[in-house]
Amino acid sequence: MIPLQFYLIVAAILFCLGLFGALARRNAVAILMGIELMLNAVNINLVAFWRYVKPAAPTMDLAGQIFALFVVTLAAAEAAIGLALIIAIYRSRDTVNVEDVDLMKW
């Protein structure tokens, strides 16, 4: 049996790598990928907690898995909206570099 902590630590590492990517990269598409990585890390947490933690009530039996499913769905919608915004920016100024998007001061 793999201890719960192993999963949680892998998730923490992925989450922090994703956060680093989202904060440090300049390409808007790459920032969005970092965000997707963070959401994936959360999903490991959710599914691992589902597997290892006793549900507080019978209605919460599969709560972790179902939450993870909603996170996947919303991640898809978020990616679509983010990429549409990036395309709109690219059409008007030929760049996806967030440092060049500076009509207003950051």
């Binding site: 963070m38 709560a63 983010g82 915004l85 207003m104 001061k105 950051w106």
Partner: protein, 482 residues
Amino acid sequence: MLISPELILAIFGMLVLVVDLIGRARTREWLPWVTVLGFVLAFAATLYIWGSNASIFAGMYSVDMFSLFFKLLATIAGTMIVLVSIDYLRGRTTRQGEFFSIFTFSILAMTMMASSASLLMIYLSIEFLSYTSYLLTGFLREDKKSNEAALKYFLYGAITSAVMLYGLSLLYGVSGSLNLTDIATAFANTVDPSVRTVALVAPALVLAGLGFKISLVPFHQWAPDAYEGAPTPVTAFLSVGPKAVGFAILLRVALTTLPIYQASWIPLLAVISIITMTLGNLVALRQTNIKRLLAYSSIAQAGYMLIGLVGVNLTGNSPFSGLNGVLIYLFAYLFTNLGAFICVIAIENATGAVNIADYAGLVRRAPFVAALFIIFFLSLAGIPPTAGFIGKFFVFGAALREGFLTLAAIGVINSIISVFYYFAVIRAAFFLDAKDPSPIRITPLVTAMLTVTAAMVLLIAVYPQPLFNLAAWSMGMFGVVK
């Protein structure tokens, strides 16, 4: 029956899309009015289920007085913003149907945030409101500033919501449940020190997502750019809508799930409150664009509201429970800030100007708007006889009651600082000469909305008793904290 406001909003959101799709140009003129009808019906439905206190959908959705208060707030804000955006959108976009539909759904998301009592519903409704807000911010896609504002708003929002989600997963992990009340029980029953550590870290992560919605420092950086670039009616919406329901969730989580850790989150919130109001006010002093100025002002206002939560104490019968202060403040702020933004919209509709320098000589060009600016700014600064004073009175009073003297003092000092930048605008409007002295024509609809908001700001100040009752009813469902 209990979710009838939500059903009405969902149906009208889709109805607007359908009318837009099959209608001709003439019928499209009616789209904003269809939207308004939806909001009015949802408002009426909220009043119809007034007084209910039910937990539905396996405890995920809580239809209580607290949530109904915010549903009223959401539908009022929605109605006023649709009415002022009619003239604004004309000529700026041809896609009014999509705009009003997405806007209706964003009000739907607000009503759902107010009722969310489960981690899953909190996440879903926050994301729902965020997505609609990003889309509305970037709606004028031919406008470079609108694009840019939406992208920045989106990137900040997506990162903070991922951080919040991580915190939510930890809350699920330590309790084995998604329902806020179950989590509270799990916290109360555990003696395990490691669970207690997680219980301190997880809410801090959740605060990132909520702080983003409320625009608390250090999660506020998106606000000035998003406010400046977004279509101005959307800016008005962002400054009141997400902030109000962000507080709804913050209050619900803090008071139902985390009361036993009150000693540890109160100092954290006190520090955030001080930094938020001080930074917001100091940076606002340097602004030249009225939308950016109001952005920093609204950051500072979030800091004042947070004082109410720091000073929360629901024991006894004191009129200063902190919680009622936040609710009263939010209600007063709704009309005040919307009013200030409608002034901005009135000027922008006629001249396109959004810089404070362009307001020179406004008293001659549009005396009505200039006069109302004074009322709204007095209210934002918290000077009687205005609604803002009542709000500040109750949040500062709660802080004093709980012995947070320094916090209250810093709040008062900040209110004084804020007078300087509000009156910089007034000074330009009243004492400087206009470059172009031609009168500004204000459309009747905007004039009507200005009258309504100004009347409410003054009415709350002279006859506040109904609002006190409303706040007292709304907080009845929270148990005794402290």
